[in-house]
């Protein structure tokens, strides 16, 4: 089974700023890869160039060593010959065909014998729980049902690669959760390589084997959900992933805020070799709070601050600390035993502090 390889891929529409630029990405066989990024960052465009619905401006796309699109080599393989399936955000079901006809369309096209066709269509519809709608028209289905028909329509032709463009974004929260689980199951069951587009970090985290974070048309980081979360490659990734968002504290020489100073000092002390640091990132959930002074630890940053606010979020609490004028958000799942205005101690493990240089690139340091 093939890898999808995008090398130096750029695409501009109408001489505007490129929708994607210089993208290098390898989607491995059998992988569930999420393209994650804010809307308008070029995720759909990336899917569409892989599918062949758009051609490249520069660069090259290969699936399993077969070049599909390369201007330099004069090659462009049309979408219908690429062996990829694409599920549209709008589902794009054919309104004039019944569910069964929609799903069987690809097989009829391939002149699959009726018996086998029936069997495959039946299997996919059953797997997706839509067999009872087989004679309905798309307009008679709910959003979730339509979404499953759209998925079934592509799954039934057993594509090498399945491309999904925000397939869950039109569903309500509950259905979304259910479909997420279903997608994961389908991925396991069919073993297809999946490229999944979403702007929902939570969706990306729960579903994918690897995530590619994009912003303004370029790739920011590719890695497992864990890597993305725990070692963001740059400021953008750090700030885009995580909810509540990461606390970013500028570390500039002579900065007048107390937290900044504290951290700055701390850094100088703890990471002697590291300079050129522009900012520090502290995830709200990696900060521990305590009323009494915790025992000192050389592998921890320990300080104190005033509680500026407590926001219960149903089982969790977001505590806003005020450290000499700069806010610091902490997320905790233990009920706070302090009130607004009181002083608390906070502690962050050395290894949970993210350092970024003046250009916003992650600074790695030893010892973590």
């Amino acid at each position: 089974m093939p890898n999808i390889t995008l090398s130096h891929v750029s695409k501009s529409y109408d001489s505007l700023a490129p929708a994607i630029s210089d993208l290098d990405l390898v989607v491995r066989d059998g992988e569930f890869m999420c393209l994650l990024g804010p809307s308008g960052c070029g995720k759909s465009t990336t899917l569409r160039v892989i599918a062949g619905l758009e051609n490249l401006s520069t660069g090259e796309i290969m699936i399993g060593g077969r070049v599909l699109d390369s201007r330099d080599q004069g090659i462009f393989v049309p979408p219908e010959q690429r062996g990829a399936g694409l599920v549209f955000q709008s589902y794009a079901l054919w309104p004039h065909l019944t569910v069964e006809r929609n799903v069987s369309f690809g097989l009829r096209l391939r002149k699959v014998p009726a018996e086998e066709r029936e069997e495959r269509v039946g299997f996919v519809m059953e797997t997706l729980g839509i067999e009872q709608f087989r004679d309905r028209y798309p307009s008679q289905l709910s959003g979730g049902q339509q979404q499953r028909v759209a998925l079934a329509r592509m799954l039934v032709i057993e594509p090498d690669v399945l491309l999904l463009d925000e397939p869950l974004s039109n569903l309500d929260a509950k259905l979304r959760l259910k479909m997420r689980a279903e997608l994961k199951r389908i991925h396991g069951e069919f073993g297809t390589t999946i490229v999944f587009v979403t702007h929902d970090q939570w969706e990306a985290m729960t579903l994918s084997t690897r995530i590619a974070v994009m912003n303004e048309g370029s790739l920011q980081q590719v890695g497992s959900p864990d890597e993305i979360y725990n070692s963001p490659a740059n400021l953008f990734v750090a700030e885009f992933v995580g909810n509540p968002p990461i606390n970013m504290v500028p570390v500039t020489a002579g900065h007048d805020m107390e937290l900044s100073l504290t951290l700055g000092e701390y850094m100088v002390r703890s990471f002697p070799g590291v300079d050129n640091v522009g900012s520090l990132g502290l995830r709200p959930e990696s900060i521990r709070l305590s009323v009494s002074k915790p025992s000192g630890n050389s592998r921890c940053l320990t300080s104190h601050a005033t509680v500026a606010g407590i926001l219960p979020t149903g089982g969790n609490w977001i505590v806003e600390l005020d450290k000499g004028g700069s806010p610091l958000f902490v997320s905790t799942n233990v009920s706070p035993e302090f009130n607004v205005g009181e002083m608390v101690y906070f502690q962050v493990d050395h290894s949970r502090i993210h350092l970024f240089d003046l250009d916003g690139i992650r600074v790695s340091y030893e010892n973590d």
Partner: protein
């Protein structure tokens, strides 16, 4: 192509590494361009349609322009030059010679004064009616909303015929007019010329104002006027400072559209202007064609075209300007109906009166005229069905009732054949244009098609017909002379209807979007399969509308046919005109009634089938 793409990567990749010659990469680039842009029939169809419409729209107009400045056959002596030489003779003759007064300036003045009158009257009838229909509690609003639009569904010269039937005097031959028979002889100014032309066209175009202005009123947010009231503004202030400026664009738009239509109006002017030599540009053009002055005709047609183009460009400009206002009346705009109180009955009477004058009486007169032997004699023995189904009548020719005349059925068959085929063509082409415009990867093709198919909209039908005449009157290259054939009518009609059908096609395709087709592409469907299994079945409805609407406007069309049809290709409209010319008043009226009925019921049917209302299909 598939094999190629399987083969090429490895070979070419090697090449690229070893030699990076620019020649190689240019050919690769071309190859790529070809595969992306031209690999599908979309681009080829697009290119074919570019050629087709260049030929159907641009070439005739260029030929026409050319005819205006080139010595025509038979004019060599007068133009003091050889046939085919470049000349100012026609421009000079039409615009600056002693005869130019009769050829151009007087008709121009008549055209402008008729248009002005038409605009004034139709606005003063249409604006109050639009308001009553959309913002008041007048009785029977729903009924009137349809009834008052009827004049627009019927050919305008239906009413000219009714007028002639009523007011005709001895200036023209044939049957007497009703009034004359009742003892009152209408003077010429009332029977023919500017007055009746203006009144009839005004009544015909008032529905335009009702529709356009009514739409603007309905989308107008009454919260705007209410907030002004709350701020303490008086009604007059509200009307002039808030409502009027916001509604002005729609009024101006209606005005200009009426103006543009008046410029090209032929039938009414022909029926009511000719007897007293009252010429407008369209009839002057017709005369110069009839007298085979094709050079002069070309200049006149060019002038009409120019006026049409300018006024519609002005309109486009205004519409663009008025977009700024559109946001003002938001979607949820609530329009409240004003109670009329005491005036409620009066308003209803006014609307009923307009209906009577513009629809009721004319149609009744026409119907009665076809079943009465002597005009305006209401005794029982005067009524007869002879003019419809009689045999062995005592007339010189046309000795059977109209329904038994083979010529009628011939004309009806021609109408069906020619208009039907042209409508089918334009409906299909419209959809194809829509498809190419939305899907083509070659950008200039889509933008060219969009513009070229819209262009005939700017050209009044009679000028367009003259352009066709000048292109197809003689053999040009491999294309034989088409004048006198049904084909020239089909071509001209198709091109003339393209603005509507291509707009319908483009909007249908836009609405469909490319997703359904791309989804089929992703399941592996090639172009032909996508067209036959996905695109065309989904667009069935749009195709039906795109065919029926042009069909309806085609069967009542006159100005194209009057220039291009010959007796063997007579359609119902030109047939009735011939009957009028030969003074078979009853028969002519009967034919016009048949056309009117077809247009009316056709429109209703389309509205029912497509669940649209005429205001959308009107399209200006």
């Amino acid at each position: 192509m598939k094999e190629k793409s399987d083969l090429m990567p490895s070979q070419l990749a090697e090449h690229d590494k070893s030699t990076s010659s620019t020649g190689m990469s240019r050919s690769a680039c071309l190859n790529y361009h070809f595969k992306v842009g031209w690999r599908e029939p979309t681009a080829i169809i697009g290119a074919l349609m570019v050629v087709l419409f260049a030929y159907l729209v641009i070439v005739p107009i260029v030929t026409l322009m050319h005819d205006a400045v080139e010595v025509q056959f038979g004019d060599a002596r007068r133009a003091k030059s050889e046939v085919g030489a470049w000349t100012f003779y026609y421009l000079n003759r039409t615009l600056a010679s002693p005869i130019s007064q009769i050829l151009f300036w007087e008709p121009l003045a008549h055209t402008l004064s008729v248009a002005t009158g038409v605009i004034l009257i139709s606005l003063s009838i249409g604006v109050p009616l639009a308001w009553l229909l959309s913002r008041s509690d007048m009785y029977g609003r729903r009924w009137f909303a349809t009834a008052l639009i009827v004049p627009y569904m019927l050919p305008s010269w239906t009413f000219a015929l009714a007028w002639r039937t009523l007011f005709r005097n001895r200036t023209v031959g044939g049957q007497q007019g009703w009034l004359e028979n009742l003892g009152f002889t209408p003077p010429d100014w009332l029977a023919y010329g500017q007055v009746p032309i203006t009144i009839i066209l005004a009544l015909h175009y008032a529905p335009f104002v009702i529709l356009l202005f009514g739409n603007a009123l309905r989308s107008f947010d009454s919260q705007l006027e209410e907030s002004a009231r709350i701020l303490g503004a008086k009604s007059g202030t509200v009307a002039f400072q808030i409502i009027f400026p916001l509604l002005l664009p729609s009024l101006l738009s209606a005005t200009i559209l009426i103006f543009a239509k008046c410029i090209g109006e032929f039938g009414v002017n022909y029926l009511l202007g000719l007897p007293v030599d009252y010429n407008v540009l369209a009839t002057s053009l017709y005369r110069s064609i009839s007298s085979r002055q094709s050079g002069v005709a070309a200049v006149l047609a060019g002038a009409i075209m120019l006026i049409g183009i300018i006024s519609l460009l002005v309109d486009a400009r205004l519409v663009r300007e008025s977009r700024r206002f559109v946001t003002v009346g938001g979607k949820g705009a609530m329009s409240r109906n004003s109670p009329l109180g005491f005036y409620r009955l009066l308003a209803t009477v006014f609307a009923a009166l307009v209906f009577l004058i513009s629809v009721g009486i004319p149609l009744l007169v026409l119907v009665l005229s076809t079943v009465m032997k002597v005009p305006a004699d209401f005794s029982v023995e005067n009524f007869t069905l002879d003019y419809w189904i009689g045999r062995n009548l005592e007339t010189v020719a046309l000795r059977t009732g109209i329904l038994l005349t083979p010529d009628l059925w011939m004309a009806a068959w021609n109408t069906l054949r020619i208009v039907g085929f042209a409508s089918l063509c334009s409906g299909l082409l419209g959809l194809l244009v829509g498809y190419v415009v939305v899907r083509s990867r070659v950008r200039w093709i889509s933008s060219f098609l969009r513009h070229v198919t819209f262009f005939p909209y700017l050209v009044p039908g009679i000028a367009f017909a003259v352009a066709y005449l000048s292109l197809f009157a003689v053999q040009r290259g491999p294309i034989p002379a088409l004048y006198g054939t049904g084909l020239i009518l089909i071509l001209a009609l198709t091109a003339d209807q393209m603005p509507y059908s291509s707009r319908a096609g483009i909007s249908a395709m836009m609405q469909l979007g490319k997703d359904p087709e791309e989804a089929a592409q992703m399941t592996g469907a090639g172009w032909l399969r996508r067209m036959t299994s996905i695109v065309i079945p989904i667009q069935k409805g749009a195709l039906v509308t795109g065919t029926l609407l042009p069909f309806i406007s085609g069967i009542k069309g006159l100005s194209l046919f009057v220039v291009l049809a010959v007796p063997t290709t007579d359609v119902l409209t030109t047939y009735s005109l011939r009957l009028i010319d030969n003074n078979y008043t009853q028969a002519a009226n009967a034919v016009v009634l048949i056309i009117a009925a077809m247009a009316y019921f056709g429109t209703l049917a389309v509205q029912n089938v497509t669940k649209t209302n005429l205001a959308d299909g009107l399209g200006g």
